[in-house]
C-alpha cells in the first residue's frame, strides 16, 4: 500500500471516513489516495465498496444522509473542509468536473442542450459575453463529435442517443477546463463500440487540457486500459493501490487476485455431436412492431427482425451478441413464443411450435427463460419455494411430496439448499436471486433455455460464480441454450457458437474460436476491437490484450 503523498499532488485525500448520519454505520473507512496533475487514476470495486461515495464526497456531493466523519481532502493545496459555500461552488465545475453514469438522467430533460452548456460558463466565466460563450459551446460540441452543433444548441436531451448524450455531458464538463475530472462509471450504460469511442474521446480531451481523471468503474479491463494507477476498494476500504501495469501483473491483496481471476476466460472448445434435427430451428423469421390495421388503412410496423435463420443443436450453447437495438432480445422473445412472428417459422425438435394445441404446450414446458434483472423477474410476494415450484404445477402424475422434493433438490443444485424455500426474494442478494431464477428455469428439466443477459446485473465475482453454476448445470442436464449478451468476455467463456446481430440482421455466425479469432464481418471486428481483454500472466496476475491491433483498418459498415 502506498500512502506517500506526491509532491504537488492535485488531490490529496487522507484518512477519509463517511458514515450514514442516522445510524452511524460507516460506509467508507480511512481511505487515503492522491491524484497528480494530469494523471488518470481508476477506482475499482464492486457494489457497496464505497467507491462512488468516496469520489462524490470530494465535491461534497454525497447524498444528504451521508456525513463525513473523519479525514481531510486537499485540492490544489487547500483543505476543502474549510471552504465557504461560495468557494465550494467556484470549485465545483470550475476546478473539478463530474461525469455521471446514466446518460438518460444526467442531463435535464426540460432544458435545451445550449442552455445547459452555457449555464456553467455563465457561472464561472462572468466576464464573457453571451456571444463568446456561444462560440465556446459550439467549439466544444464540435470537438466531442456532435455533427450539427448549431442544431444541437436548441435541441433537448431526449433527441440524442445514449452515446451522444454522454459526449454532450463530457462537453458540458470539459467546457470549464477543470483540473480534475471525476468520471463515475462514465460508459457502463453504453454499448461496447460506443463505450470505446466515448472513453477515447474523454482521454483525448483530458490529455489535451492536462486534466487529471479519477475514473470509477467496476470494469477492470476498461480501467486497466486507460489508467496510470489503480485503487482497489472493497467494503469501504482501499485494499490495494499502485501503478496499473504493476498491480495487474502482480496483485498482492487476495481480493485483487479474486477480482482478476473472476474475469471471464475462454474455456477449451467442447465437441458438439452433430445430430440430424436441431433442437431449435428458425427460418426466415420476421418480427414487426406497432403495425396496425385501421378501418381504412393498414399501417406497416417497424421491422425489428429482417428474416433471420438460425439453428441450435442439442447440448449447444449459442450466444447472441450485438449492440442495443440490434434485435437480440426481440429474437429471444420471438423464439420463446412471447412475440408473434410476422413471417417465418420456428421449429422445436423438428415440429413447428405453433400456437395453442399440444405442440405448443409441449414447447412451453421444454423452453424456459432467465431474465436480466433478478430484482424484477421474481414475484416479491411469493416464497422461493413457491416461485420454483410453480413450474411443476402442471406436471401430471407428480405428487405434492414429490414436487416439494424436486424443489429442494433443484435449490441445492443451484447452491441454495432447503432453508431458502421459505424465504422471500427481498431477503436474498442479487446473486442468490439469479440462482433462484436459474432454478426456476431448470426445475422441469427443459431441453432448451433462453438466458437474456443473465449476469449483466451482477458484480464481477458473483458473475463468475453464477456463470460457473450455469455451465455446471448445462453440462449435467445437457439442455441447449440461447445466451443473449452484450458482454463479449462472458460470451467468450460460455458459448460454443456465436451469432452476431446488427440492425435486426445476422451479420455473422460461426463457432466461437473462429468468430473471436478470425472475424469475417467488419461489424464483428469493430465489436471485438472495442473490448480490451485481460489474459492470465502467471502469479495470479493478468496482462492487457487487444483482440485486434488498432492499426488493422476496419471498414465501418454503412
Amino acid at each position: 500500500m502506498t500512502d506517500t503523498i506526491l509532491p504537488g499532488a492535485l488531490l490529496d485525500v487522507e484518512n477519509l471516513s463517511l458514515a450514514v448520519t442516522a445510524t452511524g454505520t460507516k460506509v467508507v473507512r480511512g481511505v487515503s489516495f492522491t491524484v497528480a496533475p494530469g494523471e488518470i487514476v481508476g477506482i475499482v470495486g464492486e457494489s457497496g465498496s464505497g467507491k462512488t461515495l468516496a469520489a462524490r464526497s470530494i465535491m461534497a456531493l454525497q447524498p444528504p444522509a451521508i456525513r463525513r466523519t473523519a479525514g481531510t481532502i486537499r485540492f490544489e493545496g487547500r483543505d476543502l473542509a474549510g471552504l465557504s459555500a461560495k468557494a465550494l461552488r467556484d470549485l465545483r465545475g470550475g476546478r473539478i468536473g463530474m461525469v455521471f453514469q446514466e446518460p438518460m438522467t444526467s442531463l435535464n430533460p426540460s432544458m435545451t442542450i445550449g442552455r445547459q452548456l452555457e449555464e456553467g460558463l455563465a457561472v464561472h466565466q462572468r466576464q464573457q459575453s453571451a456571444e463568446g460563450r456561444r462560440a465556446q459551446v459550439l467549439d466544444m460540441l464540435r470537438r466531442v463529435g456532435i455533427a450539427d452543433p448549431d442544431g444541437a444548441l436548441g435541441a433537448y436531451p431526449h433527441q440524442f442517443s445514449g452515446g451522444m448524450r454522454q459526449r454532450i455531458m463530457l462537453a458540458s464538463v470539459m467546457l470549464l477546463q477543470p483540473a480534475l475530472l471525476i468520471a463515475d462509471e462514465p460508459t457502463t450504460a453504453l454499448d461496447a463500440v460506443v463505450q470505446r469511442d466515448v472513453l477515447e474521446l474523454m482521454v483525448g480531451l483530458t490529455r489535451a487540457h492536462g486534466t487529471a481523471v479519477l475514473m470509477i468503474s467496476h470494469d477492470l479491463s476498461m480501467v486497466a486500459r486507460y489508467t496510470d494507477r489503480i485503487i482497489v476498494m472493497r467494503k469501504g476500504e482501499i485494499v490495494e493501490q499502485g501503478r496499473s501495469d504493476e498491480l495487474l501483473r502482480a496483485p498482492r491483496h487476495p481480493y485483487t487476485r479474486a477480482l482478476l481471476s473472476a474475469m471471464p476466460r475462454r474455456q477449451p472448445a467442447r465437441p458438439i455431436p452433430p445430430v440430424a434435427t436441431p433442437i431449435i430451428e428458425v427460418r426466415d423469421l420476421v418480427v414487426e412492431y406497432g403495425g396496425r390495421r385501421g378501418l381504412f388503412r393498414k399501417e406497416a410496423g417497424k421491422r425489428a427482425l429482417h428474416g433471420l435463420s438460425l439453428s441450435i443443436m442439442p447440448r449447444e450453447v449459442v450466444a447472441l451478441v450485438g449492440g442495443s437495438g440490434s434485435g437480440k432480445t426481440t429474437l429471444g422473445r420471438a423464439i420463446a413464443g412471447l412475440l408473434p412472428p410476422s413471417a417465418g417459422t420456428i421449429r422445436y425438435a423438428g415440429r413447428p411450435i405453433g400456437a395453442g394445441g399440444a405442440e405448443w404446450a409441449d414447447y412451453r414446458r421444454n423452453c424456459q427463460m432467465v431474465f436480466q434483472d433478478p430484482y424484477s423477474s421474481l414475484d416479491p410476494r411469493m416464497t422461493i419455494g413457491a416461485l420454483v415450484g410453480e413450474a411443476l404445477r402442471t406436471v401430471p402424475d407428480m405428487g405434492r411430496g414429490e414436487k416439494a422434493e424436486r424443489v429442494v433438490e433443484v435449490l441445492s443444485e443451484v447452491g441454495l439448499g432447503k432453508p431458502f424455500a421459505d424465504r422471500y426474494p427481498h431477503e436474498l442478494s442479487g446473486g442468490q436471486r439469479q440462482r433462484v431464477a436459474i432454478a426456476r428455469a431448470v426445475v422441469r428439466r427443459p431441453a432448451f433455455v433462453i438466458a437474456d443477459e443473465p449476469v449483466s446485473a451482477l458484480d464481477v465475482t458473483v458473475r463468475a460464480q453464477v456463470l460457473e453454476l450455469f455451465a455446471d448445470l448445462q453440462a449435467r442436464h445437457g439442455f441447449s441454450c440461447l445466451f443473449i449478451s452484450h458482454d463479449l468476455g462472458v460470451v467468450e467463456q460460455v458459448a460454443d457458437r456465436v451469432v452476431v446481430m446488427q440492425d435486426g440482421r445476422i451479420v455473422e455466425q460461426g463457432d466461437r474460436d473462429t468468430v473471436f479469432d478470425h472475424p469475417a464481418h467488419p461489424y464483428t471486428r469493430r465489436l471485438l476491437s472495442a473490448i480490451p481483454a485481460l489474459e492470465p500472466a502467471g502469479e495470479g496476475g493478468v496482462r492487457l490484450k487487444w483482440r485486434f491491433d488498432d492499426a488493422v483498418p476496419v471498414a465501418v459498415p454503412s
Partner: protein, 314 residues
C-alpha cells in the same frame, strides 16, 4: 398538434353523449313530478294533465329525449320550468359567479403550494419540511364546509371584518364584491393548497434524486438556480395535472361552499333545480359541467409539453 386537439375533442363526444342520456334517464327515475310540484295544493287532475302536456311531459321518454337533445345541438337548452328563464344564459351566469371564486382560489393555492412543496422537498426531514407537511395535512383534512363556518365565525362574527353572507356582483360595486368573495375564496384556497403541497413535495423529491440535479450542483450552480432552473420545470408536471383535475372538479360545482356563504353559483342552481325537479335546468347544468371538465383537462394536456418537451402532443 391540431390533429391531436381534434382527436381529443372527438373523443369527448361519446363521453358527453353518454352523459346526456344518463342524466336524462336518471332524473326521471327520481320520484316526483314537476307539474305536481309547481301546482302544489291547487292541483286538480285536469290542470295537472294540462300542465304536463304544455311541458311535454306526456310524451314517451325517447321522444322527450329526442326533442331535448335535438334542441341542445342547436344551442337551445330549453326553458326553466320554475323560473321560465332560458337555461343556457342562466347556467352561464351562475357559472361565472362560481368560476370567479374557483379560479382565484386555485390560482392562489398553486402560487403558494408549488414553491412550498418544493422547499419542503429541498429541506426534506427538516423542521421546515415537518411544518409544511403538517400544515398541508391539517388543511386538506378539514371539510370545506367546516372550514368555511370557522372563517365565518372568526372574520365575520368575532372580528366583524368581513360581511357574513351574501353576494354582490362586480359590476354593481367592485369593492363590496371583493369583500364578499374573500371568505369563499379563502376556504377553497386553504383546502386545495394542502392537496397541492403534498403533490408538489412528492414530485420534487423524485426529481431531486436524479443525476442531472447533482450535475447542476457539480457545475457550481447555487441552490436557488438548482431548484428553480433545474428542479422546478421537471417537478411541476404531476402537480400541473393535479391542478387540472382540481379545477375541473371545482368548476363543476362548489355547492357546499356556495351554500355556506349563500353565493348564487352553479352548484346552488343545480341543487335548487334538483329539489324543484326542474328537468331542463338539471340537464343543462350537468351537461355543461361535463363539458367544462373535458375542456379544462384538454387545455391542461395541451400545455403539458411546455413543462416536459419529451411529451409531444401526438
Amino acid at each position: 398538434m391540431l390533429h391531436f386537439v381534434f382527436k381529443r375533442i372527438a373523443m369527448a363526444v361519446p363521453t358527453l353523449l353518454i352523459m346526456a342520456v344518463t342524466v336524462f334517464v336518471l332524473i326521471r327515475l327520481i320520484p316526483g313530478d314537476p307539474a305536481a310540484l309547481m301546482l302544489g295544493d291547487l292541483a286538480t287532475p285536469a290542470s295537472l294533465a294540462d300542465l304536463r302536456e304544455r311541458l311535454g311531459l306526456d310524451q314517451s321518454l325517447p321522444v322527450q329525449f329526442g326533442i331535448w337533445f335535438g334542441n341542445v345541438l342547436r344551442g337551445d337548452f330549453g326553458i326553466s320550468i320554475t323560473s321560465s328563464q332560458p337555461v343556457l344564459p342562466l347556467v352561464l351566469d351562475r357559472f361565472w359567479i362560481s368560476a370567479r371564486v374557483v379560479l382565484i382560489a386555485v390560482l392562489l393555492a398553486s402560487l403558494f403550494a408549488v414553491p412550498a412543496g418544493m422547499i419542503a422537498a429541498w429541506r426534506q426531514n427538516s423542521g421546515t419540511d415537518l411544518f409544511l407537511v403538517g400544515t398541508a395535512t391539517l388543511l386538506y383534512s378539514i371539510p370545506t364546509f367546516w372550514l368555511g363556518l370557522l372563517l365565518l365565525l372568526l372574520f365575520g362574527l368575532e372580528l366583524n371584518w368581513l360581511p357574513v353572507v351574501g353576494y354582490v356582483s362586480f359590476s354593481e360595486d367592485p369593492r363590496a364584491a371583493l369583500l364578499y368573495i374573500v371568505m369563499p375564496v379563502m376556504t377553497l384556497f386553504l383546502h386545495e393548497m394542502g392537496v397541492l403541497i403534498r403533490m408538489s413535495r412528492a414530485s420534487t423529491l423524485e426529481v431531486l434524486r436524479l443525476d442531472y440535479i447533482t450535475h447542476a450542483r457539480a457545475k457550481g450552480l447555487s441552490e436557488t438556480a438548482v431548484l428553480w432552473r433545474h428542479a422546478f420545470k421537471n417537478a411541476f408536471g404531476p402537480t400541473w395535472t393535479l391542478i387540472g383535475l382540481v379545477l375541473g372538479n371545482l368548476l363543476g360545482g362548489i355547492a357546499v361552499v356556495e351554500t355556506v356563504f349563500t353565493i348564487p353559483g352553479l352548484g346552488r342552481l343545480l341543487v335548487d333545480a334538483i329539489f324543484a325537479r326542474d328537468y331542463p335546468v338539471i340537464q343543462g347544468c350537468l351537461l355543461f359541467v361535463a363539458f367544462v371538465y373535458v375542456a379544462v383537462n384538454l387545455v391542461v394536456d395541451l400545455l403539458y409539453p411546455v413543462f416536459d418537451p419529451r411529451v409531444t402532443a401526438e
